[in-house]
Structures are given as structure tokens and as C-alpha cells.
């Protein structure tokens, strides 16, 4: 970008031709210099840790005796994949991910659709929906813990009021997962709504007018104008929330007083928590590194599957 704007407008064509023959012209060499800082940092803080984690994952390593590393090949991975703690955490991550991401994105889409219309106090609402995102995760989780407290929480009090049975939001599997998903939803719905809203600004307003002329109601407009117009944005948010869900960590950690076990029977232990527990609580850095790499592969696969489905749908839509 910078190189192009720095060039004089004249001789554009000949210059391009030149560049094809001499790819290291002065301009593009400067471009490499410009992007160098990013790649230096990227190499130091991403590539090197990736490779080091892969190396550690092939060894029996204890955090307390880090320099005594015994080569064990793929044993950590074998241990992990035959370990019920891993599969337990894998399915917890999956279920919490689904019950938090799906409603979250649907609601965000609907909110964006509403806020896209002329509405009194529109700016206020647009700012308000982003506030949860700006709230500290720790503070939010502490408040939710109070709300979901099985003895003194307001939610069980309300259930009791309408003669519904009390729910153990901490000890039981599904209630605890729903509670954690609700923290995630509360925090991220507004953020996604804002991204959708930005995408909607790019949708031609005349399409709505034309649809209205054709007699399409709100819902029909939403389905036939908003949704197709937002397809690339929706795919982006799905990919980002898939990655976010796969790495879910802070909410379930704080939900059990900062302990990484995900409840007394691991009822909401996610892969992120398991990895942390293995490495920092259980002292097994090798196994934790294997979990880290396995998570990396799982996330890559999930993203690729997302994109493949999206592309197939797009092709079918054409």
C-alpha cells in the first residue's frame, strides 16, 4: 500500500512490466523492511514457541525439573488420546462452544438487523451493546457466580418464586455448562452485533426499498436481503467464535474459584483448562505441550471445515 502511494502516477504500466522482470526493485525491498518488525516479533513470540512446544511435547518434561528432558517420541500424544480426561474436556469444549456460540450469533444478527433501522436513540443502543465486551472478564464472572449461587443466587430465588425446582448451577453438568455459556454470550453478543452492523452498512439500502415494494415484510427482508448480504461477515464471525470457543479458559477457571479442574467432577473442564492443569498444576509440561498441539490441530480442522461448508453453500447458492 505504502509503496504504491509513494510512486509517481506516471509510467505506471512500464514500471509494472519492469517489476515483473526484477522482483526486487527498490520499492518492494522497502516494503519488506516495513513488514519486518511484525515478522521479527511473530518469529520470536509465535513461531519459536510453536516449534519449542512441539519439541517439548515429544519429551517427558516436568515443570519443576525443566532441564531434565527424556525423549519419549509420541508417547504423550498416545497417552492423551487414550485418556478419558482429554475426551471429557474435548466434548465439554464442544458442547459449551455450541450452546454459547449458536444463540450468541443468532441474537447478534437480529440485534444488528434492528439497530440498522432508523430508531430513536440509535447511537445509545449501539454503544450500550458493546459495554459487556468492555467489562473485565473477572468482574463479570464474579457477578455471574453470585447470580448462579445455588444457595443465595437471584436465579434460583426466581425459580423458587415460580415453584420450579432449584438448580445446582455449580455441581450439575448441564446447568453449569449453560451458566458458563451465558457468561460468554453476555460478553460477546454485542461485539458480534457490531460487526454485523458494520457489514450491513455495506448492503445497498435500495434493496430493502425494492423488497418492501415487492411486499416483503421484516422477516422476508431479513432472510432475502440481510442474510445474503452478510454472508462473508457471518463466515468471519463463525470462524472467530469457533477459535474463541476452542480456547475457552477464563470463564470456567473463575467459575470454580480459579481452579483449573472445571468443577469437582470436571463437569465444565475445557481443553484450555486441561492443558493448564497438566502443565502448571500437575507439573507435566510435556503432556501439556502435546495437548496444546492437539488443540492447535483441532482448531485448524474446525476452521477448514467451516470454510469448506461455507464454500459449498456458496457454490450451491450460485
Amino acid at each position: 500500500m505504502v509503496t504504491i502511494s509513494a510512486e509517481p502516477a506516471t509510467g505506471e504500466i512500464s514500471r509494472r512490466r519492469l517489476r515483473r522482470h526484477r522482483p526486487t526493485s527498490r520499492g518492494s525491498r522497502i516494503a519488506y523492511v516495513y513488514i519486518l518488525p511484525f515478522f521479527v516479533v511473530f518469529a520470536a513470540f509465535s513461531v519459536y514457541p510453536w516449534l519449542d512446544t512441539a519439541w517439548v511435547s515429544l519429551h517427558d518434561v516436568r515443570l519443576s525439573t525443566y532441564h531434565q528432558q527424556t525423549w519419549i517420541g509420541l508417547d504423550n500424544y498416545k497417552n492423551l488420546l487414550t485418556n478419558h480426561f482429554f475426551w471429557h474436556a474435548f466434548f465439554n469444549t464442544l458442547t459449551i462452544g455450541i450452546i454459547s456460540a449458536v444463540p450468541q450469533l443468532c441474537v447478534a444478527l437480529w440485534i444488528a438487523h434492528l439497530l440498522n433501522h432508523r430508531l430513536r436513540g440509535r447511537t445509545f443502543f449501539r454503544v450500550a451493546i458493546l459495554l459487556p465486551y468492555a467489562t473485565s472478564l473477572a468482574a463479570a464472572t464474579v457477578i455471574f457466580l453470585e447470580l448462579f449461587n445455588p444457595r443465595t443466587g437471584i436465579i434460583d430465588w426466581a425459580l423458587h418464586l415460580v415453584h420450579l425446582p432449584r438448580v445446582d448451577w455449580q455441581g450439575s453438568k448441564w446447568p453449569s455448562q449453560v451458566a458458563i455459556a451465558s457468561i460468554v454470550m453476555w460478553r460477546w453478543t454485542g461485539y458480534n452485533a457490531l460487526i454485523y452492523l458494520a457489514g450491513l452498512q455495506a448492503v445497498d439500502r435500495e434493496l430493502y426499498a425494492a423488497a418492501a415494494v415487492d411486499g416483503a415484510g421484516k422477516w422476508a427482508q431479513f432472510r432475502h436481503v440481510t442474510l445474503p448480504g452478510l454472508r462473508p461477515t457471518i463466515i468471519f464471525t463463525i470462524v472467530v467464535s469457533t477459535i474463541g470457543s476452542a480456547q475457552l479458559f477464563g470463564e470456567p477457571l473463575l467459575y470454580h474459584n480459579g481452579m483449573p479442574d472445571g468443577g469437582t467432577s470436571g463437569q465444565y473442564q475445557t481443553l484450555g483448562l486441561l492443558m493448564y492443569q497438566q502443565g502448571w498444576t500437575n507439573d507435566r509440561l510435556g503432556l501439556a505441550s502435546a495437548t496444546a498441539w492437539t488443540m492447535f490441530v483441532i482448531i485448524l480442522l474446525a476452521v477448514v471445515v467451516n470454510l469448506l461448508i461455507a464454500r459449498r453453500r456458496e457454490r450451491r447458492a450460485r
Partner: protein
């Protein structure tokens, strides 16, 4: 720590004042920071955590149970006696509704396990949970307590547990000296005079917590650092640690000082806490300790919570605990 990194710390058996230093401390405290053969000691003791039971005199009285120290010294001297007393509390028609005798099964387990010849490790410091006499007897006492339903089933240090200190959801809790400060913090001024400290710890001495100060061999100013640690853990400073902070000394001379041994606590119904904890610290015997004790204990007490709150059978809880322990020991 001692096993893996002893060579990175100054050995207190080899410092100029070694024999004078060693004589100051409880032998069990000194040994906890030493290699099994005693040749290498990595730190000097600061505080320790001799354990007793803290209890609510008002709740026990309301349940119609005796609270005088002569009766408790007799009834609470063994875990069986303590659990029996708890059963009477639960059976009482006048106890506050929703209240239980003990905070959690963990209060029994984590104290009783260290009263055996072995706790979580064998003599060489390697984890050996299944063959430990301490684990076996502690598990038996604990499951007796849970099947008699004398515990409130609260996870220690969780929010509901903290709140229970003032709400009265339990009447007794395992209580190392530092827990006295914790109780005052949670229950506040309103709890003053309602609490007391048991004259005996069921099953004998047990320790929970404590620290050491060491000097890294990498230090450039070892002699000065050694002198500083000796000064910090000296008698006078450990007396101050008790009078100002409520932490029990590991320095025997400090523990014998009248300011410590003669201490009473107004908050805890004027109980002679100095004399009580001094006696418990004096009868302490510490089984071999290992690197993963904290994690192993956590795995077991977590399963105890499942027995208490989810009705998990002791057998499957025990299996789940061993399973979780294997994740640590490998």
C-alpha cells in the same frame, strides 16, 4: 523442592552457626526442609501451622452439647470420638436448622492423613497413596463422617464456605493457627466470643502450612543473606510474628516465650491458644513428605466433595481420586 533443587540453596548444616541454628527450631520443622538423610537443609523455618479444631460455642450450646474444655479434651481426643460428637449434634432437635457439625470432609482427611507413619509418600519421598496407613485411616474416618452426614459439604476456600463462617452453616472446622486470623476476617466482629479453640486435636498433632527462608547458592552476598535469614527467623522476630500476625513460630525458643505460650484470645472465648497450640506443636510427628502432596490431597478432597454433595459412592470416588492422582504422578 529439597529433592530436586537442594544443590541450588545454601546448606544450613554447613553455615558458621549451623549447630546453634539447628537447636533453635522444632526438629520436625528442620527435617521438613532436609534431605531424608539429614545432610542437606535448604532453609530456616518461619511460621508453622499446628492444627486444632475451631468451633462455635454458641451453636454447640444451642444443640444442647457440652463445650467445657475438660469434656472436649476427652471427647475430641480421637477421630471416632469427634465423629460421635458430630452425630449427636446432627441428632439434636434444637440445633439451628440447615446447620451441620463440620465444614467439610476435607477438614478430617487433610489432618488425619498426616497422623499416619506415611501420608502420600513412602520413606524415600515417592508417591505411594494406595499403601499408606495415613491415607487408609483418614479415608475411613472421612467416609464414616460423610455417611453419618455430619458435614456441610462446602468446598474449603470457596465463596459459600467463606460465607458460612458468619451464617453458621457449620459449627467446627480444622484450624491451624493462621486459620484463627482467617475466621476473624470472614466472621468479623459479630463472631467475637462465639468461637473457641479445642484443647486437643483429634488423633494427635498435625501441621497445615508453614514456610522457610533459603539462600540461593547463586547469591553474590551469601554471608549477608545468611545473616539476614538468621535474624529474620530469630526468637525475637518469631515472637513478633505471632503477636503481630498470629503465625505460630517454628523457633522453639520463640514458642516457649510467655508472649506466645501464655497467649489467650478474646475473640476465641479467651481460649489459652498459646498453651493449646504449643502442646500440639510439641507432639508433632511428620511423615515423609513429597513433591506432589498438594495435588494428591486436592484430588482426594475434590472427590470427598462429590461424596458429600452428589452422593457419589465412596468406592467410585476413591477410584476417581486414584485416576486423577495418576494424571499427576504419571
Amino acid at each position: 523442592m529439597v529433592k530436586n533443587h537442594a544443590n541450588q540453596f545454601v546448606n544450613w548444616n554447613k553455615v558458621p552457626n549451623a549447630s546453634a541454628d539447628k537447636a533453635e527450631f522444632y526438629p520436625w520443622k528442620w527435617n521438613m526442609a532436609s534431605t531424608p538423610d539429614g545432610s542437606d537443609t535448604v532453609g530456616l523455618g518461619t511460621d508453622t501451622g499446628p492444627e486444632s479444631i475451631c468451633y462455635r460455642t454458641d451453636l454447640l450450646k444451642q444443640a444442647g452439647l457440652p463445650t467445657d474444655s475438660a469434656t472436649l479434651a476427652k471427647d475430641w481426643s480421637t477421630w471416632d470420638g469427634f465423629i460421635n460428637y458430630g452425630k449427636q449434634y446432627e441428632a439434636s432437635a434444637t440445633k439451628p436448622s440447615g446447620s451441620h457439625f463440620l465444614d467439610s470432609a476435607a477438614s478430617i482427611f487433610s489432618a488425619a492423613v498426616y497422623q499416619g507413619n506415611e501420608a502420600y509418600d513412602n520413606a524415600s519421598g515417592t508417591p505411594d497413596v494406595e499403601n499408606s496407613d495415613g491415607v487408609k485411616s483418614a479415608w475411613k474416618y472421612t467416609t464414616d463422617a460423610t455417611s453419618a452426614k455430619i458435614t456441610a459439604g462446602l468446598e474449603q476456600f470457596s465463596d459459600p464456605w467463606n460465607k458460612a463462617f458468619s451464617s453458621g452453616a457449620f459449627a467446627a472446622v480444622a484450624c491451624p493457627t493462621w486459620m484463627m486470623g482467617y475466621i476473624q476476617g470472614q466472621a468479623g466482629d459479630a463472631g467475637s466470643g462465639k468461637w473457641s479453640v479445642s484443647p486437643v486435636m483429634p488423633g494427635g498433632g498435625s501441621n497445615w502450612g508453614g514456610s522457610w527462608l533459603g539462600v540461593p547458592t547463586a547469591s553474590k552476598h551469601q554471608a549477608a543473606a545468611i545473616a539476614l535469614v538468621e535474624w529474620l527467623s530469630s526468637k525475637d522476630n518469631q515472637v513478633k510474628m505471632w503477636t503481630d500476625g498470629g503465625h505460630w513460630p517454628s523457633n522453639q525458643e520463640a514458642a516457649a516465650d510467655p508472649a506466645v505460650s501464655g497467649a489467650t484470645s478474646a475473640y476465641f472465648s479467651n481460649a489459652p491458644v498459646g498453651q493449646i497450640y504449643g502442646q500440639i506443636a510439641g507432639q508433632m510427628k511428620i511423615p515423609p513428605i513429597g513433591f506432589y502432596d498438594t495435588q494428591i490431597q486436592n484430588a482426594i478432597t475434590t472427590q470427598l466433595t462429590n461424596i458429600e454433595t452428589k452422593g457419589t459412592s465412596p468406592d467410585s470416588a476413591w477410584k476417581a481420586a486414584l485416576d486423577a492422582i495418576k494424571q499427576v504422578t504419571g
